[in-house]
């Protein structure tokens, strides 16, 4: 895992040649990444930042020199430039740890901590609790999940009505899935209807859910997607994100946004130059530039 990430990152680190201050016209997505990395300069943000600036500077440099035709950069030149990029191992490790922690790979994180000596920014025990909640929702044990969240931090569901509603909605869905019509109605009436009263959009979602009861063949009805496993996953990831936020942790790992930046940077560069591109993110192989 760590190797793959390191590999990808090295390849993201495009050429460093000259340093030129470049500030204007970066798109919003980059600004966001910029903001994230700036504020959370720890846990790999530095690496991310320097990579980002490197790409930007490269772009600016090419833009300046190549006003007319596309420059062709050969594989050799490219790799030479890549070799000049220095990435701190610690930064890489932090990025990996951030990924493992956010995604909840507690065992891997523990192993990685021992092997690399990278300290996670969060108590690993809390990951176990969080994953237990997530798993409970994924398996349809919503009530269990709610109890676990409340044990973890009673404030989460008390201050997050939308999440609470979605969990209760998931509970209703599970009841309907199990054919407990009476119970489902009772539950909808007792637990969900008052929430609908408090919030218009909840009411609409509730109607949609209760509509499941009106169909004989639920799998084939317009609201059937609620019964889909993806609905569980959606709810589970919402809970996961809320717990992470309550622990003042990012709800998304940083690696995906780094890859997004790679893609964006490449597409910017495409207009200016032909260069060894990474087309397959999973292998991160450089492909020879089409001349």
């Amino acid at each position: 895992m760590a190797n793959m990430v390191a590999d990808t990152l090295l390849k993201i680190a495009l050429n460093v040649e000259k340093y030129r201050f470049w500030m204007e016209s970066y798109p919003p997505c980059v600004e966001k990444a910029f903001r994230e990395s700036e504020i959370n300069g720890n846990e790999g943000g530095d690496a991310l930042m320097s990579l980002f600036w490197i790409v930007i500077r490269q772009l600016a440099e090419i833009e300046a020199t190549m006003a007319t035709s596309k420059k062709v950069i050969t594989r050799e030149e490219w790799e030479k430039k890549l070799n000049d990029v220095m990435i701190r191992k610690e930064d890489m490790n932090k990025l990996v740890m951030n990924f493992l922690v956010t995604e909840g790979y507690v065992d891997a994180a523990e192993k990685f901590r021992m092997e690399s000596g990278t300290e996670p920014d969060i108590d690993l025990a809390t990951i176990t609790d969080r994953m237990a909640v997530k798993k409970a929702v994924q398996c349809g044990n919503v009530e269990d999940a709610i109890e676990k969240v409340n044990d973890l931090n009673p404030e989460i569901l008390d201050t997050n009505p939308q999440l609470f509603f979605h969990l209760q909605q998931q509970r209703l869905i599970e009841l309907i899935r199990n054919g407990k019509v009476e119970e489902a109605l009772e539950f909808a009436q007792e637990e969900l209807a008052p929430r609908g009263e408090e919030n218009q959009s909840f009411l609409e979602e509730l109607e949609k859910t209760v509509a499941l009861l009106a169909f004989e063949d639920v799998s084939n009805c317009p609201v059937g997607d609620l019964l889909d496993i993806s609905q569980r996953l959606k709810t589970a990831s919402e809970v996961n994100a809320a717990i992470l936020t309550s622990q003042s942790h990012e709800k998304d790992p940083k690696l995906p946004s780094l890859l997004k930046m790679l893609i964006w940077a490449q597409s910017q560069l495409d207009e200016k130059a032909a260069y060894p591109r990474i087309n397959d993110l999973s292998t991160a192989t450089l492909e020879d530039p089409a001349v």
Partner: protein, 931 residues
């Protein structure tokens, strides 16, 4: 006995498209006994039909959120749901009963196939709440229509009644009484909840079957969340008597809600109630395991669930839990290693914290139960989990206004606060910040906190976790508010690094943090305007807030208010916001569906501030369709929104350009405004009067529209209001209406007002009302000579009142308006001028100095101007009596006073003085010629 639990069936309709597909499944009619449904259209555009039996169509007009029915048919003994025969048996003794929950208040109908109307609801004017039914004698009630606690449905034979005992969110309680005695013969808690409520039926030999369904609806047009209730007492229905609705006069004679609840619990008609009482029972168990389990169960029941909090609260759960906590805290003192006991503490603290979370009633209950000191004690416990649970619960309490004030002045308390802020635990340091936000009110407290070094601690938290940042920002804003001294010290500290870290947080990725950082900077700016003048920061603030408007949650609600406080009274900021498209962006958010009232209000107020000074903003506003939305909002259900809409409108109506064009005086605008003059809320009335004051200053002849719409009569009515603010604003509007009005318009107003009312308003106890009344008279007598006559009506009662007020005037403004009244009257005929002179010159016997001398010597140049004007008008050399009047004025020392004013510093005064002196000279020349 609760047959409906078996027989009940619910049926939901959602999207029309979806439903039409369903119809193909269900509409085949096969095997359905004619039960089928079809939604033709949804929401407010059209109507829906539901066929629920062969001969009955339910027609729902406008919005349908959810339609339920449970149908029990005496002939088929079957109940159905759409397209699906689920074949539950129900008691066939029961006649037909239809339960519905819906919809729109104004138009719901139950019609038979033969076209006969079964139930009809008349308009939402509240006139007709009940109607007898042809079919299933029943009653259709709606909370929105004025159904109140204590309302009664009385059976026509006068023997029994159904009383509404409690209406609250989510449930309606009712009981059936015999009328022959006060004793409850039958009582039942008819509990039903919200949109999927299916009533619980109770059959009783006495009273028949009652069922109730409650349904909140929130009309897309912006009607409030309300409830309707369908009630079909079946046995009563067999009689032909009409059911009457009557409201019982003394609410305190009603059986209390608790008594019915108790009965309901005893008869176990409701699983919820049973579960509820079960938990409470187990809380008092002597078995510690059972107790702990009950605590956890209670916690899991109430977290996130306001309704449950309320019902447990009513059942007295808070004192029980507080008692458990107190006991466990004591036990912990004895044995610090009892982990089971620690768990009891953690769970009970969590329960109390949840009761207090965002729920003031809960906070009060926790405080009343005396749990607060016990919770505070947890903070010094050695166990981290206990501390955490305690801190969290105390923090919840401190987030409410009801929390006890924290006394920073006590040294011990300050030490404790600092220790909280120093804590490694996020919850504990967050609690410290919450305490400051809650209790720091005065500048003395702000200073003390600053001196104790609290700002340094808070700065440190700014670099901490998400929740630490947020609570620190809130506390900082509290300490800065209106205290330039503290702001100065803060900005200067650490060479401005602290301030720049707040500025950085405006770019944070969490919306709430961005909002709180912006609010903190706004407080700094508003407290000490010299800071944060950098254009980049100002632009960033404006853009951040505009962007935050899009946040779907509370942050979005608050963003508009923050924007208001950033731009209010500050033309430069309004300009900046305008340049960043604030008007368009606000309008864009205003157009969104289902805005909650708070957000709606905020956006309107922000628009009001935007348009308060700059014409460019107003024209941008008027060039879009915002005005229509604002006019619609004048009729919104929420008083705050109505008031905000008026304030916004008033701001826009300051546009002279558009006033001149008569853009605002159209029926579409005036009618809703006149209507809202009747508003039950004073603040709405005042705001509406403000708009009217502005728009009736009309330079075209379109005032008649306003008068035709009944606006003028309304204003006159309001000028008699008991509320001084309303009198003031009504007079203000009338005054503006009179501004350069044609004589017919004036006549109409005067007839309506009458001289005696005007005279009494001039002598109103409130000086600002006096001023407006005088200003009104001033405008009234302005213009052609015939209008001067008004002040002489009823033996000059008005003129006398003016004279009296001038005599005793303490405020310059009253003097000014009064003098202009006299000045205007003095433009009239000889007789009018003489009357004015009589008012001006004190009778010889009193020997007092004429008040006009005082005015001429006033420091207020406006008052001097008004006084000289009067003299100018009195001594106009063209009029025959001018010479004599001049003599009288001279005798009273007025002429010499004016002579002394030749070099008045105010140009306006000087000019009038010159005119007057010129006239004096002419008159003197005449005099010397004639003699």
């Amino acid at each position: 006995m609760i047959e409906v639990v078996e027989g009940r069936n619910s049926f939901a309709v959602t999207e029309v498209e979806d439903y039409e597909k369903t119809d193909k499944v269900g509409g085949g009619a096969r095997n359905h006994k004619g039960i089928r449904g079809k939604v033709v259209e949804r929401k407010d555009v059209g109507r829906c039909y539901h066929r629920i039996r062969d001969d009955i169509d339910v027609e729902l007009k406008r919005q349908v959120h959810l339609f339920h029915f449970s149908l029990s048919d005496a002939t088929s003994n079957t109940s159905f749901k759409e397209g699906k025969h689920i074949g539950k048996k129900i008691d066939n003794r029961k006649p037909k009963a239809i339960h519905m929950a819906m919809f729109d208040s104004s138009n719901a109908k139950l019609v038979s196939k033969k076209g006969k109307e079964i139930v009809s609801r008349v308009g939402s004017d509240g006139e007709d709440i009940s109607k007898s039914l042809d079919f299933d004698k029943g009653l259709w009630l709606e909370r929105g229509n004025g159904l109140l606690d204590g309302d009664c449905l009385k059976k026509g034979d006068g023997e029994s009644e159904l009383k509404i005992n409690g209406i609250e969110s989510g449930s309606i309680q009712a009981c059936i009484n015999k009328l022959d005695g006060s004793e409850l013969v039958e009582s039942d808690r008819l509990l039903s909840h919200g949109s999927i409520g299916v009533g619980i039926e109770k059959e009783s030999s006495n009273s028949g079957v009652c069922s109730m369904v409650e349904k909140p609806y929130d009309d897309v047009m912006g009607l409030p969340l309300s409830s309707s209730l369908v009630l079909i007492p079946v046995e009563w229905a067999s009689n032909d008597e009409q059911l009457l609705l009557w409201r019982s006069p003394p609410p305190n004679t009603m059986p209390t809600a608790t008594s019915t609840t108790a009965t309901a619990t005893a008869t176990a008609t409701n699983t919820c109630t049973t579960a509820t009482s079960g938990i409470l029972h187990r809380l008092s168990s002597t078995d510690q395991d059972v107790k702990l389990k009950a605590l956890r169960q209670l916690k899991n029941q109430i977290i996130g669930n306001r309704t449950k909090k309320l019902s447990f609260l009513k059942l007295g759960a808070v004192p029980s839990v507080a008692a458990i906590l107190a006991e466990a805290v004591l036990a912990d003192d004895g044995d610090r290693n009892n982990s089971f006991n620690k768990n009891v503490i953690v769970q009970s603290a969590a329960v109390l914290g949840s009761f207090a979370c965002g729920f003031d009633v809960g906070v009060q209950a926790v405080l009343d139960a005396g749990a607060f000191p016990d919770l505070l004690r947890l903070l010094s416990n050695l166990d981290e989990k206990v501390v955490d649970a305690g801190a969290r619960s105390v923090k919840m309490i401190y987030q409410s206004k009801l929390a006890p004030k924290y006394d920073f002045l006590q040294e011990k308390n300050m030490e404790f606060l600092l220790s909280l802020l120093n804590s490694e635990s996020e919850t504990v340091s967050g609690l410290g910040a919450s305490i400051i936000t809650h209790s720091c009110k005065t500048s003395v407290e702000q200073k003390i906190l600053f001196d104790a070094g609290v700002l340094k601690k808070l700065n440190r938290l700014l670099k901490g976790s998400l929740s630490q940042k947020d609570s620190s920002l809130e506390s900082l804003a509290t300490i800065f508010k209106d205290n330039p001294e503290v702001v100065l010290k803060f900005v200067g500290s650490e060479s401005g690094r602290a301030l720049s870290s707040i500025i950085e947080l405006v770019k944070d990725k969490f919306a709430r943090t961005r909002l709180l950082a912006s609010l903190c900077l706004i407080v700094i700016r508003n407290t000490s305007p010299c800071y944060l003048q950098d254009i980049a920061i100002k632009t960033k603030l404006v853009n951040t807030l505009l962007e935050l408007l899009g946040d779907p949650g509370q942050v979005g609600d608050k963003a508009s208010f923050a924007l208001s406080s950033l731009i209010a009274q500050k033309e430069d900021m309004q300009k900046l916001a305008f340049e960043n498209n604030a008007i368009d962006k606000l309008y864009c958010h205003l157009q969104k569906d289902s805005l909650n009232p708070r957000r709606f209000e905020g956006i309107l107020l922000a628009l009001a501030d935007m348009c308060s000074k700059l014409e460019c903003c107003r024209s941008r506003f008027l060039s879009s369709q915002v005005l229509n939305s604002v006019v619609d909002a004048v009729a919104h259900d929420s008083a705050d929104v109505r008031s905000a809409a008026c304030i916004c409108f008033k701001s826009v109506a300051r546009s002279i350009q558009n006033l001149s064009a008569g853009s605002f005086l159209t029926e579409a605008v005036v009618i809703p405004l006149v209507r809202v003059l009747d508003d039950p809320s004073t603040s709405v009335q005042v705001a509406a009067l403000g708009v009217i004051s502005n728009i009736v200053v009309d330079f075209t002849a379109r005032r008649s529209i306003f008068i035709r719409c009944g606006g003028m009569k309304q204003l006159v009515q309001l000028s008699k209001s008991m509320d001084a603010a309303i009198r003031l604003n009504a007079l203000w509007a009338l005054r503006n209406l009179m501004f350069q009005a044609e004589s017919k318009c004036k006549e109409g107003v005067f007839m309506e007002l009458t001289a005696s009312l005007l005279a009494s308003l001039i002598c109103d106890p409130e000086p600002f009302v006096q001023e407006q009344a005088l200003a009104l008279v001033r405008n009234l007598v302005d213009g052609c000579i015939s209008s001067v006559e008004y002040v002489f009506a009823e033996d000059g009662i008005i003129l006398d009142a003016v004279g009296r007020q001038l005599q005793s005037a303490l405020k310059a403004e009253i003097g000014i308006q009064g003098m202009y009244v006299l000045s205007n009257v003095a433009t009239g005929e000889e007789f009018h001028k003489e009357a004015v002179l009589n008012q001006l010159i004190p009778h010889a016997e009193t020997g007092a100095q004429a008040y006009i001398i005082k005015f001429l010597q006033s420091n207020d140049s406006r008052l001097r101007t008004a006084a000289v004007w009067t003299v100018v008008n009195l001594t106009n050399s063209l009029s025959p009596g001018a010479v004599d009047r001049l003599e009288i004025l001279r005798g009273a020392g007025i002429v010499s006073q004016i002579n002394n004013m030749q070099h008045d510093p105010c140009l306006d005064v000087k000019l009038r003085v010159n005119t007057a002196l010129g006239q004096f000279k002419t008159l003197d020349t005449c005099l010397s010629h004639s003699s």
